[in-house]
Symmetry: C2
Subunit: 781 residues, 2 copies
């Protein structure tokens, strides 16, 4: 039976015939496995890897150790395949291991000049050693990626990236996204070297320390110059699709011949993890469809991930996949040395205007570390003092910890001057533009520069609500979008292939397509996760765009990681989530949210809004648009809801408010009924019946916990008076009871999965009815 990577046994012991030769600066690794028999199943251990030039304590194959080979010449690694080796393994599994593979991997060794250009080497190794030293100092972090990607980063920042270190927010800068965010030290090193004020050498020394500006993964909210918050893999590349789409859209809307206000590239670094994650395929498929030619991703194809060699799980043809997605793909075979090839690849990518570009850059993770390069070990842990020393030797780096050679620093710091110059040039363009196109310039100034909403946007929403009657809140939402669309060119967004259900199409708003860049309706396809991350990118383009994203509420499960990043990175995206309860009916439990309201109420920095009617829907939009640092989720009904007599925009903006009360001024209600969204009219009807029976009943509409909890204690207690205790309060909500003990003692809720059937039948089945509310209240009163 063929075995993974094992040659036929006839090739055993050919070692005797081989000539031993090693061409530095390569390192050699041998891979071997150990046969065993366990529980009646025989097999081989997973492949073990061992550096021929390194040191290793356990499982070291002694006759292929450092001592045997160092200084000798290995002609061809293949000569050793099939060799038996002695093995100092655990006794239990001691069998004769067999060498299955020897790989030759490029790393550094003394003396080596990578590029023939001393300054370039100094600049590149400055990045590497800042990363190495910072991780070593923190005793935590990911040195491998910065060590491998430093050459590409150098080429990009040296020759291509347009930025102004003294104004990280300059509107027409190129965007750089580190999608493999664990390599954060690469970015911090560059920000420091290029002269950003946000990262000093002191900050780098505090890498991963609490309250530093250099957290473990890059966070836009902590460090100016970091465009988006990355770390959770695949998010960054999807954010970048949003950044590139924002650029394309704004360029189409504002640029005029000879007046290119918006004209920049979006560059992304990403690793194997980003490429494996489903979100990146979703986002990159859409980017290909949209022909976002100014999006350039550099894929660190280093064949190593945390589990070791990526070939244990990941053997697809990435280049071919990206071609299938409509991307321009080019491979750089030697990302460790070949600066010219990196330069050429980026240059070529910039010239391909009708496709995004993927540059497959073959690198050695942890390049420069004699023993850990090209292993999983260097991915996510400090090298250790000894290996840091060896790496300094290997890369001929005479400088001390955190020391950057003067020459390199001076070279990087010229970006301060050039950055200021290019921003000045842009300012001149902008002045000319203002004169030539005063009307568009005014819009640009309001939206892109000042991020100010248009006059009367609130009254437009309120007026739309006044015109509205009984309707599903998803329909009310469409009325709001249509009220805003003509006055807010910065309103952009769409749905994940549910436009006719989520009701997100806007009148006379064309779709954003490769041949209609001025369009601002996004057909995301069935790609919820990418939709969320692209919305974050649109927001963090930081040019006033106000993205919305729509699907069924249940499918927040597909995009939860992106929604959490909206909250964490303070992207005030508007999530329009329709079909918000079991009342959606026949689609059944796979489509019926239960725990979703609770799960977002528990998430920090999210407005989880569930409006009860068209009026509260207007208020939900007002809350969402007023927010500039908190995303909003609007949970909206599929089914028609009555327009409530007393619903109020002002009340809704406070999160919870008294909708009705027959208690009389100064009195104490007998009971408080509360509800959100589609259950508000249920408790209102129940209250009416109880009032007819002589009870004094207060109804509280409770659309948003987070807003309510921002109110003064005085206001909160005016709504839920302490003298009407929880035992005299009941909530009715077509979702999980979880969390409601904070406000009430009785719950008419659903703590199990839904069922398929007509919406009304289902509500009855779960007791979300006036009758059941009455029954529960009467059991108390």
């Amino acid at each position: 039976m063929e075995r993974h990577g094992v040659e036929s046994s006839s090739s055993l012991c050919r070692r005797e015939e081989s000539v031993i030769k090693c061409n530095l600066p390569k390192a050699a690794f041998l891979t071997y496995s150990v046969p065993y028999m366990v529980s009646g199943v025989s097999g081989k251990s997973r492949d073990r890897r061992h550096s021929l030039f390194g040191s290793s304590s356990v499982g070291k194959p002694t006759n292929l150790s450092r001592r045997s080979f160092l200084g000798q010449e290995i002609d061809s690694a293949q000569d050793f395949v099939g060799c038996k080796v002695n093995y100092e393994g655990s006794r239990r599994t001691r069998k004769t291991p067999m060498v299955t593979k020897i790989e030759m991997v490029e790393t550094a060794a003394k003396p080596v000049t990578q590029t023939g250009n001393r300054l370039a080497d100094l600049c590149i190794d400055s990045i590497r050693f800042l990363a190495i030293d910072a991780v070593e100092n923190a005793k935590s972090g990911h040195p491998g990626m910065p060590m491998g990607m430093a050459p590409a980063a150098y080429v990009l920042f040296e020759n291509f990236l347009k930025f102004n270190p003294k104004n990280p927010f300059w509107v027409n800068r190129d965007r750089f996204v580190l999608s493999n965010g664990h390599g954060s030290m690469l970015l911090y090193a560059l920000l420091y070297l290029c002269g950003y004020d946000s990262v000093t050498l002191e900050d780098i020394k505090k890498f991963r320390h609490i309250h530093s500006r250099t957290p473990g993964h890059p966070e836009n909210i902590e460090t100016a110059g970091v465009e988006v918050t990355t770390g959770p893999l695949g998010q960054g590349i999807a954010n970048a699709v949003g950044l590139a789409a924002a650029e394309a859209h704004l360029a189409a809307v504002y640029n005029r011949p000879g007046h290119d206000l918006i004209d920049h590239y979006t560059y992304v670094f990403m690793g194997d993890g980003c490429v494996m994650e489903g979100i990146s395929n979703e986002a990159c498929s859409l980017a290909g469809h949209l022909k976002l030619g100014k999006l350039i991703a550099i894929y660190d194809d280093n064949s190593i991930s945390i589990d070791g060699k990526t070939d244990v799980a990941f053997t697809e043809d990435v280049g071919k996949r990206y071609e299938a997605l409509g991307w321009h793909v080019v491979t750089v075979e030697n990302g460790n040395f070949d600066l010219q090839a990196i330069f050429d690849a980026i240059q070529k990518a910039k010239q391909v205007h009708d496709k995004p570009s993927l540059i497959r850059l073959k690198t050695t993770i942890g390049y420069g570390s004699p023993n850990k390069a090209n292993t999983g070990e260097v991915h996510g842990a400090a090298l250790g003092a000894e290996e840091v020393k060896l790496t300094r030797e290997s890369l001929s780096w005479p400088f001390k910890e955190f020391e950057v050679p003067e020459e390199a620093l001076r070279h990087y710091r010229r970006h301060i001057e050039t950055g200021q110059r290019i921003e000045r040039e842009w300012q001149a363009k902008w002045e000319a533009y203002k004169k030539a196109f005063p009307e568009l310039a005014a819009q640009f100034e309001r939206t892109v520069l000042n991020k100010k909403l248009p006059d009367n946007w609130e009254s437009a929403l309120i007026s739309a609500a006044e015109k509205g009657g009984d309707m599903a809140t998803r329909q009310a939402s469409q009325a709001m979008l249509n009220a805003l669309a003509p006055m807010m060119p910065e309103l952009v967004g769409g749905s994940a292939d549910l436009a006719p259900s989520c009701l997100t199409m806007m009148k006379n708003v064309p779709s954003f397509q490769h041949n209609c860049r001025e369009g601002r309706y996004f057909h995301y396809g069935v790609r919820e996760h990418a939709m969320g991350a692209i919305s974050n990118g649109l927001y963090h383009h930081n040019t006033g765009l106000r993205p919305f994203a729509a699907t069924f509420f249940i499918f927040t499960d597909y995009m939860r990681a992106s929604i959490r990043l909206s909250a964490l990175s303070r992207a005030a995206v508007i999530y329009i989530m329709t079909h918000d309860s079991v009342a959606l009916g026949e689609d059944g439990p796979t489509h019926q949210p239960i725990e979703h309201l609770a799960s977002f109420r528990a998430m920090p920095n999210v407005y989880m809004l569930r409006p009860a009617d068209v009026t509260e829907t207007a208020a939900a939009y007002i809350a969402a648009l007023k927010s500039t640092s908190t995303p909003s989720i609007l949970a909206l009904s599929r089914q028609k809801l009555p327009k409530l007599k007393n619903s109020s925009v002002e009340g809704c903006l406070k999160g919870a408010y008294i909708l009705s009360d027959n208690t009389g001024s100064g009195g104490t209600p007998d009971f408080i009924l509360t509800a959100s969204g589609s259950e508000v009219h249920v408790v209102e009807n129940a209250a009416e019946k109880l009032r007819q029976e002589g009870k004094s009943i207060r109804v509280v509409s409770f659309p948003c916990w987070e807003l309510f909890e921002q109110q003064s204690r005085e206001y909160q207690e005016s709504v839920f008076p302490p003298n009407v205790g929880k035992e005299l309060r009941l909530v009715c909500e077509a979702g999980s009871s979880f969390g409601w003990e904070r406000y009430v003692g009785h719950m008419v809720t659903i703590d199990q999965f839904g069922v398929s059937g007509k919406g009304d039948d289902i509500l009855k089945h779960f007791g979300i009815t006036v009758e059941n509310v009455l029954k529960q209240v009467k059991a108390v009163l």
Copy 2:
């Protein structure tokens, strides 16, 4: 400027020169757009489509109406491109629309024989009309997919699928997964036609009615013959990867020459939505890597999704992508008629053993409906009485509602006999196997057939716990896995590229690879979402496999939809989720769970377990393995935790229990401190100090809400006595306070995002300390 799909204006008005000709049974659609100017931006409306032979009310281009063309001959649709048409649009945007495209689409019209084989036609149309009538009767559902995919379903069930309708759980059946689960009526129709007891004609008449066995989307828990619960797109194809992996693994473990106990295919139907979702790319990339040759997916390439034509969002080359993923890809150009080509494609796919197969089947959604075929309209709504009538005419179907021609039913029902025969043949094989391989047969019987855990599995865990000391609970988890691995060959699983962090590798357990099918460690790569769905597939293979899946707790956000489907479909998957709080440290807020415990406590049918030490970790594994219908999530610490003196397996299995109490028998504690996981030792230490000050303090370890809430009220009140009110209870948990009001009145919790830093510094920063607990308690006592 080039516009989407618009030819140059020089081609305007070429209509006069054209010959009008229409080749039935094709339908023609014209696409046109309307120029407009809004908010200073000029553009064109999104493309509008209009059937030339249908009826349409709004926006009907009058001079290209049904009347103008019906019965005339259209030679080439292209002749009309660029024609100006009159337009009855809204006044506001009235401009001259322009025809941009005319498509000719195959649909049916009278008289048409699709296949030249009357019986085949009857069988195929029986599926179609059961679907049409059931959706019409429910006034809800998705007729388009069953109408388009009926021919492929017929060919598959007629010629290939190995199953026994009278025993849907026969172990060696082929698995059929409807990944585009909205087309559930296709599956229900087949189950009824083939003679499954689970779906009768009455059940079909109750399609989408409450309490029926035919819910809106297929649910394995409702309907025997449904292998997995689908509907949320992309899940089914990923489940299928798990099903195919289960087959490959069990075949390698049990089959012996001449004794093939396990030998079946896994077939999947999936649509554009499944193909767009990121999860399917993750799963299919892994399937290609694993060379799962017995996985055959038929992709309904009908170019229509809910937003209309898929080309608004989805223009990638799917075939090429799947080739890049390592799949065998074949296209069937005419999935509506060409039964032979469908047959050949499946036959060929079965012969490709080293690659999974994708059959791109070009079909017409809603095939047979003269006006709605090939439109988004037919995707997710009933056709309407008039169109049902026209479809009956178009497909020459003389039968009444829900009437299946006797000849077709008889033909389908022969599967009852053949199914029973092939199961009998398998039984004979099994008898022979038992004699030839008694030891393996015993294991097969215990695990695959009886799904019984081995003797002494619990004591193995308890003994491992006894051996364990102070350790991170992720390390304790590894000890449990290693205790189980030798005795439980049915334990399969792995992590999403975090093996060295989640500590999920097991001693002497090789990795499941294409050349090591007996391996049972899964290297999932960085593909959390697929990992969850594949685990569901492994479980629902229903052959006793007990899958586990591991990543960081935060990344449940990436796989939440799959975890929810574990809960809904009752797959007792074990989710090993390490790095469970801010105490993970330097990786920072992108990696630190806050709301996650709450979010899963709110989800129905999930054991959210957070053990406090090695003993409770053993108990968590016991709870997880005892469960056969509830998935378990184990939230485990990165950091070392002390082994608690009084922690108890028995207590932990009750969800919450008294860990320590100095009150004395019959007395009432002054205060109750509770916590889960890594905070239990914090409250235990705080309690000790309070006791030294003379207080009587109870400490409750609270690892699992769901288990606790299954206990008797008596037990619950013995732990949290009503006479020690919430105002005398405090929880300390390094996560959101959300929900804790159910049990306590005071919380030492974290209701904001985390920070990057050393774990201890972070805990101090958020007050998750003995000191702060003491301070809060003393403020009360």
